[in-house]
Every structure is written in C-alpha cells, then in structure tokens.
Symmetry: C2
Subunit: 494 residues, 2 copies
C-alpha cells in the first residue's frame, strides 16, 4: 500500500493562494500536459491510442507515488487505470473517477485535426489561432484548447494531477485516502465496467466516488450533479424497394423508406420531446422535495442559452433542468438516399434514449418493441430476407446497443453536504447543485456493485462541444478545476 | 445538306431478318461500342468526359455520312450533338433524341467502377462476372453490361447507330429524313436546352421527335410513352442549435432539427404519396378517355414488381400507371447527425417533385412556399444568420433547382397511330402504350419552342437501376432496340 510521505507543514489557511501561486508558476507545463494527453487518439476506433493512454496514465500515477496498475477488463475492453495513495490518519477514502476515452471523430466535420490540439482565442469558428507555446505566461484564461476529449475527460485528469502536484509542492496535506479509477470505454457505454468492478471490489472500496465528467452548469457556477441519466441506443432501419428505384418512374407507387422513418419517429416522439409510448413513464421516479428545491434554486440560464445557440424555440415548457428529470428520446442520426433522384432502398434512424430512475434498458427495449408492434410494425433484429420484406409493409430492424440505468443519489446526506460545502469554499460561491445531469455516466454500476455514494463533479466548460466536432477546453475551467480538486483532497470531511 | 447515297436494293420485305442477321454478325462490335461509350465519364462532375463524349458522337455521325456538328449551349452548358441526313423523296423528317450525360455517381455505393463497364450474367449482386471479350458470339441476351449511363441513354445511341449501319449494309433504304439531337445535360434538368432550341429552330424543324430515353414498361413489351412528367427539385434545410449539442445534457430541451424535418415532411406528404398542399391539384389536367383506355389496356405487372423489389406495400391504391398521372413528391435524401450522440445543428431533406400537365415549376414553388408559410414556417433562400435562427422556431431554407413542366401528347393523332403500328411491327406484338412516363425528360421544351409532336420511345430494360448505383443494360434490350430503330427509319409513314 502506497502511503503519502508528506513533507510540508502548511495547514491550508492559504490553500487557495498556494494552489493558484503554484499554477501561475506552471501554466506552460499544465497546458502542455493537456496538449500531450489530447494528442493521444484514445478513442474506440484506435485501440493503439487507448493502450498508449492507459500506460501513460499508469506511469503518471506511479511518478507521483501512487500504487498504480492497470486493471484488465474482459476481452475487448481496454484496461482501467487504478491508483491509490493513503494518507496517515485519514478516516475517509474517496475515488476520483474519469474516463480517458473520447467520443468517435469524423475529422471531415472538424475545423482542425481532433488529435493535433490547437489553441484558439475563443470558442467560435472565427476565433484566432494562438501560438501559445511561443508566448510567455500568464495565458488568457478565455483561450480554448481544441481537440477530441480535451474536455471530456482529459481536463479532469490533468486538473486532478496538477492539484496533487500543487499540494505536494506547497506542503498541503490531504485529508483523505485517495483512489483513482480512470476507465477507457465510457463513450461505448462501458460494456466491461461491471466485470472490472466486480473483480476489484476490495481494491475499490471507498466512502465516496467523485465523477470527474460532464460540463459545468451553463451559469459557469461550480457544479455538482447528484445523479446522471442512463441510456440505451438503438439504430432503426426501415425498408423500401430492395434496390433504389427511379423516383420518376416509381414515385407515388414504390414505398419511400424516408416516409416510413418519418412515420416511425412521429409514432415515438412529438416535437416537444414527449415520448408517445403510453406506459413509458410508469417507471419514472417522481422528483423528491429536495430535488425540486434544488432545481428551483438554480441560476436562470435559459435566455442566455437560447441566445448562445441561436434557438428559435425549445422543446417543452418546463425548463432545461426539470426536463432532465424525464427520459429523452433523441434523434442523433437520420440517413436515406444519396442525392440521386431515386427512392432509397432503406432509411436509418439513430436514436439515443436517456433514461431516468427507475427505468432499465431492458424494460425500455421491451416497451419500445411492444409499442411498435402494436402500431403495426414487424420488429426484427437481423437483416431481413426478401420474403420478410415482401410480407411486411412496416418492417423495422432494431439494433440495440449498450445501455445502463440512471442513478440519483439523495441530496441531503452528510457526505452530500460536505461535498457541496467544500466545492463552494473552493470557488468562493454557491455551487449549482443539480439532482441529475442530463448526460449519462455509468454511475449506476458503482452504486449497484460497490454500494458507494456517488457525486458528479464536472470541471469542463458547458460549451465545450462535447460529443460534437470541435470539442474544446476553456483554460479558466482547467484553472478552477485544479483549485476544486485541491480543496476536495485536503478539506473534505464528514 | 447531307443526302443519303443509298446503294442497296432491298425493299424491306426481309427487314427484320436482315437487321438480325447483321446484328448476329456484329455482336462483338456492338457491345464493344456500348462499352467504349459507357467508359467515357460523361457526367456533370466531369466536364472533360462530357466534352470527350460530344466529340466522339459528332465523329460517329460524320463517319456515317451525316452532316454533323456540335451546337454550343449557353455558358456552362455542354454542346448538343446534331446530325442530319436526308433521304431522296422522303416527305417526313424525324428527330431522334437521346442524352449523352449520365446521373451523378457515388462510386462507394457501386459494386463495380461506374466507368469501367463490366458484363455480368444477370441483374443481381450475386451474378457472375463474364469475360465477354474472351467468348465467341452469340452472347447470352440476358447478360447485363454494368456502368453509369449504359442504359440511360447510351444504349439508345448505340442501338440507333447500329440500326443505321445494318440498314446500310443490307441496302435497306430509309423512308424519312433523319435528324439526330443528343444533349449533354438532361440529368441536370437541361438548363441550356431552351436556348439551344431557340437558336437552332430552323435546323431542328421536323414532323416528329422520338425521344430515346427511359425504360421499357415492366412487362418488357415494346413501349411508347406519349408524355413525361416534369420536375423541380428542392433541398430543404431546417435548423437546430447553432452547433451540435450533447444529446444527454440538452435532450428534451434543445430543438432537434430531425424532428423539424419529420414535421416538414409530414405536412407536405402522407405515407400514400398524397401531397397535402390544398390547392396543389388545381393545375392537374384530367386524363382523357384515350389516356384512360390506354392505362386500362396495359399488361398487369404490379404483382411481379412487388415480388421483384420485395415490396411489402405500395403507396396508394390506384396502380402504378395511373399514379404517374398525378404529381409526386419524392424524398430522395434525408440527412441529420453524424452518429455521435448529439443533437444535430441542422437536417436536410432533398425532395424531388414530379409534375404533370398543366403544372409549372414556378407555380409549384409558389404553392409550396405559401403553404409552408401558412403552416408557420419562415421560408428563406440563403443561409440564416444567428438573429434569423433566434427569431424563428420553424425556419426552413429552400434551395430550388432546375425544373420544367410535364407534357402529354394526344394519343390518337395520325403520327401517333403510325408510330404505334411501326413499333408493333418491329416487335411482332402489341406495344405497351402509356399516356406518360413517370420520369422526366424535357420534352415540354420541344413542344413549346419547336411546336413538334413528341413520342418517347425507350429501349432500356425497366430494371436497369437507372438513377441508382449499379446501372446496367440488358443485351436483349439492345438487340430489340436495333430492330425498332431500323423499322422506324424505314417504315414510318403517315
């Protein structure tokens, strides 16, 4: 067991000043660190990049005195990076979670190479490119480093390590036993995570998991989420003629699969995001009084977001935070035809269900399939043969992928109050505290397998283009994250 | 003026035997001819291919004694190939039309290179590749030559030239003055055609235009169409957030443009192909008694087509031929999202209107835009700025392209009866005679500018994958086309 040999004598009265002074003296090194990690193509399509990233992170932990190693996943899964470092006299153990894999990339849709990080003066397409390595610090905290996973989650990893380095350099002693768990397939819905957790139950024993993922609240307040939505993906394929047909000779007679896609979507979801499956909300847990109060106390950001994203409308009327308490059905891809004047032979609809407690992916699959069957669809799971196409006017192939349930943690437990207070102290202001994030992280598993409480602690800017082209990390968020992690390591107590 | 110096003495009693004998002796040359023309990439994206094709065709006509030349189009349009050859004593002049350009190609969706023609044993993906040049004729007439424009319309051009060669070789004298007009931008809706026709009114004077385009009726009967639908294309873009947003954090709140695409399509068209614009049929001309009778006399092909294309349903109930008497709205492309779990920033719907008499593209544009406006859409024609997006929840950019009206020619005029009889004699059976083809060719212009009657005379197999990947020409159709053209050149009389 690694034990922290802490040499300093400071006791935290000047914690924030100490950490910020260390950061000021190391801006170049910290950004260089984020640049190096972002340049590693640790995405599912690049197993070499995932392997390189895992090895690098293991080495980073070892260099800092952690007992670190790679926890192999089941076949096909990249390893998780684990590290632990005990603090003499600490009564609590906290696991700092992040994921080191990034979303898939389509480089053609990016303005810069997703794995050749570029600093820009701001978020937009017009922002000037900055030769930051040619400049002397201090750097403008509004700069953004563009690259896949720069925010999601490599900023969390870099901020955590920088906070640790700052504490050690300044002799600020942690108050907790620190564990690290960085996984490598979160963007694939973590298919191997349950197995890894079950295999390493003892190793991962802790009093709290802090999940370093997701974006800050759009108010830019320090943010805590006490839950996350679950998810399950499905790609639906609907069928027209067995080969594309001339749209003049056959238009009005051959069935157009784009129309079937329209029909399918219209049956599942209305323009305000309401899911039209009658029993779909049977498993939806109502918001508790504490959760409702938390939502009511959030800073209002909706007008600003409408402006920022040029929205002419929003779906529904309940507001953004309240809307995340409901399941969502997102159309994330729609494809039919290739531009020639032809009736396509199929149409594809990529859908992404976001789940809330107490839904499960299995129940959702059953509900969707039973509902579509009741609407006259023949539901299949493999490619149809000619006879199946011939026999069914409404034929849909459903290809379900991954999926895990949501989790919401009680917001009024002692650990919850301690985390809220510590994050607030770090920032010097009241955090935005939300019952759930809209996005999905597999925190349900930590609760299910390890029975530990979970709080999500993001550091990334809300406008980081997470899961989209041109992902970026705002430098001020990295700086703030360092202070937050330093406070959590040294001040968390319940 | 070129005048046919005909040396032979045959008088047609053995016309079919003569033509077939010549064809049998020249199968290799004829297929080689089609292969060479198909290998020339005469598509809009390849101006070099269009230029090469035009020059080649001009030379082919000159070599056969035609007075031939290229008729330049307006700026940006490829030239039309014109040729004429008078027959001593002929009282009628007939123009043989085809287009030498092909539909765009996306090679990734083809099984073989669209411009490297490949012979296959049949139409399907599993059909064996034939090394036809390594075999001795006679060739199997069920073989298909795969390549872009092999059917649409290079088979018509090759069949016409082969028929001419056969007649000359056998001493069969034409009965008409022959003109040829082969245009090079039909697949772009012929933007320069009106100008070319107006500039060359005298040159193109004729008693009849025969349009060598489109597929045979699905019964494989010899086919005549007395009209064609018109068309106008529009690409609609609808808008979500100004950049893609994480579908977890924003799903249920940020407006999903795929849903707007669904709404747009649902407002325009129902699953049975009915166009929902209330006044859209105001300009639709009713079928005449002769047209209704022609439709009633067509061989029934629908069960066979349902089987061939594995259709589980068809749109509407009136049947294929009757459905082409109505306008159609085809969804030929649908695109949103790139597979990442994000709410896309826009969705695109490519639509293709097929028009019938007496609709005009201009009226259709007005009707569509007025209708969408009445449904709450803000219609724009350029990319919206942030303020426009912000101000309009239902914003649609419409990019209209090309377009021309439909035409239907009376089916009971003397020239009509003569063409039907001659084509029937060539085939030895009753042709399928249709009031209109479902597809579009700009025959309206010939009528409008030149006041000449028009009949469409296709030779391509109905299952040629016209306007789709893996276009192919069935060899028997090429053989039959040669006989048909030979009869028309020597026997047409009214």
């Amino acid at each position: 067991m690694a034990m922290l040999a802490w040499t300093g004598q400071a006791h935290g009265s000047d914690l924030k000043a100490d950490v910020q002074a260390w950061r000021s003296a190391h801006e170049r090194q910290i950004i260089n660190h984020l640049t190096e990690l972002t340049a590693i193509p640790s995405v599912a399509a690049r197993p070499d990049g995932l392997a390189k990233m895992a090895t690098r992170l293991e080495a980073e932990l070892k260099a800092r005195g952690f007992a670190a190693r790679l926890l192999p996943g089941p076949a096909g899964s990249p390893p998780a990076v684990f590290g632990s470092l005990d603090t003499a006299g600490a009564k609590r153990t906290v696991v700092f979670y992040a994921h080191y894999d990034g979303q898939p990339v389509d480089p053609a849709t990016w303005r810069t190479d997703p794995f050749d990080p570029v600093m820009k003066a701001g978020p937009g397409a017009q922002a000037a490119t900055i030769d930051w390595q040619g400049r002397a610090p201090p750097y403008d905290p509004e700069w953004r480093l563009f690259g896949r996973a720069a925010s999601d989650d490599k900023s969390s990893i870099v901020a955590f390590l920088a906070a640790f380095d700052a504490l050690r350099a300044k002799g600020q002693k942690p108050a907790i036993n620190i564990k690290v768990f960085w996984e490598g397939e979160e963007e694939l819905n973590s298919p191997g995570l349950r197995s890894t957790l079950e295999t390493n139950r003892d190793l991962l024993k802790a009093d709290l998991w802090l999940i370093g993922d997701g974006p800050l609240h759009q108010s830019r307040s320090p943010t805590l989420y006490f839950g996350a939505r679950g998810n399950v993906d499905v790609e639906a394929t609907v069928y027209g003629p067995s080969r594309p047909l001339h749209s003049g000779h056959y238009g009005n007679w051959a069935p157009n699969p784009a129309m079937l896609a329209v029909e399918l979507i219209s049956e599942l979801r209305d323009p305000d995001g309401r899911i039209l499956i009658p029993d779909f909300s049977a498993d939806v847990r109502a918001a508790s009084p504490a959760e409702r109060a938390a939502i009511d106390h959030l800073p209002s950001v909706e007008e600003e977001l409408r402006e920022e994203y040029s929205l002419g409308r929003t779906e529904g009327t309940e507001g953004l935070a309240a809307s995340t308490m409901r399941p969502a059905l997102n159309i994330v891809g729609l494809r039919a035809g290739d531009g020639a004047r032809a009736i396509p032979s199929q149409a594809m609809v990529s859908m992404d269900f976001r789940l809330v407690p107490d839904q499960t992916p299995e129940r959702v699959k059953d509900q969707v399939e039973a509902y579509l069957t009741s609407k006259g669809w023949k539901v299949i799971h493999g490619d149809p043969d000619a006879a199946t196409r011939r026999a069914n006017g409404k034929l849909v192939k459903l290809d379900w992928r991954g999926g895990y349930p949501a989790l919401r943690t009680p917001m009024d437990a002692p650990f919850a109050k301690a985390v809220i207070a510590t994050v607030g102290d770090a920032a010097g202001r009241r955090p935005a505290v939300l019952p759930t994030m809209g996005g999905s992280v597999p925190i349900y598993l930590f609760s299910d397998v390890l029975k530990a409480p979970i709080v999500v602690l993001p550091i990334a800017n809300h406008d980081n283009n997470q899961h989209a082209p041109n992902e970026n990390a705002r430098i001020q968020n990295l700086w703030d994250g360092i202070v937050t992690y330093a406070y959590l390591m040294t001040r968390l107590d319940w």
